[in-house]
Amino acid sequence: MNSAVPVLAVEALEKRFAVRRGFFRRGIAEVHAVNGVSFTVAQGETLCIVGESGCGKSTLGKLVLRLIEPSGGRILVEGQDVTRLDAAAMRPWRRRVQMVFQDPYASLNPRLSAEKIVVEPVGNFRHLGRAERRERAAQLLARVGLRSDALDRFPFEFSGGQRQRLAIARALSLQPALIVADEPVSALDVSVQAQVLNLLLDLQEEYGLAYLFISHDLGVVEHVAHRIAVMYLGRIVELATRDALFAAPTHPYSEALLAAAPIPDPRIPRLAASVQGEVPSPIDPPAGCAFHPRCPLAVARCRSEIPALAPLPDGSLVACHVRAPTSASAGCCPARPRSSAAEAAL
């Protein structure tokens, strides 16, 4: 991976939503949707964010683009802090980070033709003549595998996969360094999913794009990720390379997540589910480690102290008192050893 300035760096990012009730809309509680999240994405790299629904991964994606204003922390795009920029100062940075949304039926304006949709972002930054606009749009459509006779069609005339290709073409139009892809294939048929994922991978190779890829589908994640961040209730609990995580997850939650993913081979026995119960309410998260009520390894310290992300020998970061004890604790079990192959991959 490139050692230059990361395309995206997020530091201690936080988002709290107030829960309001009653006549005077008093804030009665807060949801800590994203809580002290830090990571970087290098040029040409894919960082996947995985987690159950409600863990804050989509909020995180929107925070990165400042579609939602963060409550705390910093966002750095190519080294520049964009967290506090006003709308006008933010615009140049919008060219660097683009987004592909989950639902290709809702993310395209039904009243605009494909041509207008894909070049709209370009038109926001400089004037395009009619002929130039058409030419740009045709190039973009060709790049995502759509025929140029689609230019005058409207979104409702496309299939789901074709619409997502349009959304990708629109994201590409500004030649961004990073694309935030929020579950870009989860609304698509399985047969189309692979085509769209392959398109994303081809584009990454061609343009050196970085992806912040948000997904709950571990099959998809294994296919596209370089590194993976596992989120639970607004926090990153494990950040590791794909190979390290899939070979030997360290955090008990990552372990459970991987064990829960279906394996398309009936001969392989399912691992016994190690996690019971529901995700706790983010309005009233458990004290200490948010995972402790469901964790098979929980010890007394987990109930009182929030674990910090601690580095393991192989370079992964894990927030767990048991598996990755920090110096303050008298660790009860040693961190699991990792293969040297995983170490080399990092």
Binding site: E120, E157, Q195, L197
Partner: protein, 313 residues
């Protein structure tokens, strides 16, 4: 997981049961470009019969109202000896209780009624659109603007008109303002509710992410979704304004009763409905036809703005 990708550019799914050949419309078929040639005009009429019918009726009505002095005769002179006469070859729509020619009054009445109806509809819709867009899109002004609108809505138009007329010299302009002011908040509420919904659409978020300025987002992505409900609202406001004007002139707060409008013709003749129905029916049918025409035009406009429907014709 990585598979050879199949060609994705196959023909799109047919969204309805329309034969596929009908979907291959020419580009740009849904805008005014089609109107440039005579052939294009014919095609426009064939594709949008409701717009043409509605606009045609309205155009004829306006034309007749403007040309009234040339053919309609005397709308003001009274002749008690021939009052409440039934329609005949000489008096097409008969006479009213003061012996005035109902045909002449209906034609002249169109001037006031159409002016009030269309001005109020346009004024209320434009005011509602601008204020509603601001209130719906900016969280900062929303609360304040909507409380002011609630205050205006609480004001009965009759009371406002009486106050305005006694402060000024009266006239059609004052009547229009008096009816527009309480109608604007209704349009504002409508626009605001649509904007609040549209603002949360992912395609609006996508536009923000694409670097669009607020004005672009409002005009290109949010405004179009307000058109359809506003057109419906405008047709209702138009008809309602014609009737409100009648109520005002009945109370003496609007146009003087001797100057005919469809509204004051209906309200002053309603006592004679049993013995001389033509006095009410003549302006009543005209009013109905105008409202119908405005509705047809509105429906057609809505379809014209919907790309889904535009392709099917």
């Amino acid at each position: 997981m990585r598979r050879a990708s199949s060609p994705m550019s196959a023909a799109p799914r047919n969204p309805s049961n329309v034969p596929a050949i009908l979907l291959q419309g020419e580009p740009g078929s849904l805008d005014g470009r089609a109107l440039r040639s005579r052939r294009g005009l014919r095609r426009f009429v064939r594709r949008h019969p409701t717009i043409c019918l509605g606009a045609g009726i309205i155009a004829v009505m306006i034309g007749l109202a403007l040309a009234a002095p040339l053919f309609a005769g005397d709308a003001l002179s009274m002749d008690p000896s021939r009052r409440l006469q039934a329609p005949s070859a000489a008096l097409w729509f008969g006479t009213d209780n003061l012996g005035r020619d109902v045909f002449a009054r209906t034609v002249f009445g169109a001037r006031v009624s159409l002016l009030v109806g269309f001005s109020v509809a346009i004024g209320a819709v434009l005011g509602g659109l601008i204020i509603g867009l601001v209130a719906g899109y900016s969280r900062r002004f929303d609360g304040a603007v909507m409380r002011v609108m609630d205050g205006l809505m609480a004001m009965p138009s009759i009371l406002l008109a009486i106050a305005l007329v006694s402060l000024t010299h009266g006239g059609v302009g004052v009547v229009i303002v008096a009816i527009v002011v309480p109608e604007v908040p209704r349009a504002v509420r409508l626009v605001r509710s649509v904007v609040l919904g549209a603002r949360e659409q992912p395609y609006v978020e996508a536009a923000v992410a694409g670097g669009a300025r607020t004005g672009t987002i409002l005009v290109r992505h949010i405004l179009p979704s307000t058109i359809a409900p506003l057109v419906v609202q405008a047709t209702y406001v138009c008809a309602n304004a014609i009737l409100t004007e009648a109520g005002l002139s009945f109370l003496g707060a609007g146009i003087p009763p001797e100057i005919p409008s469809w509204g004051n013709m209906i309200s002053s003749s309603r006592l004679f409905l049993g013995i001389a129905p033509w006095t009410v029916f003549a302006p009543g049918i005209c009013l109905t036809v105008v409202v119908l025409a405005v509705n047809l035009l509105g429906d057609g406009m809505r379809d014209l703005l919907d790309p889904r429907l535009a392709r099917k014709f």
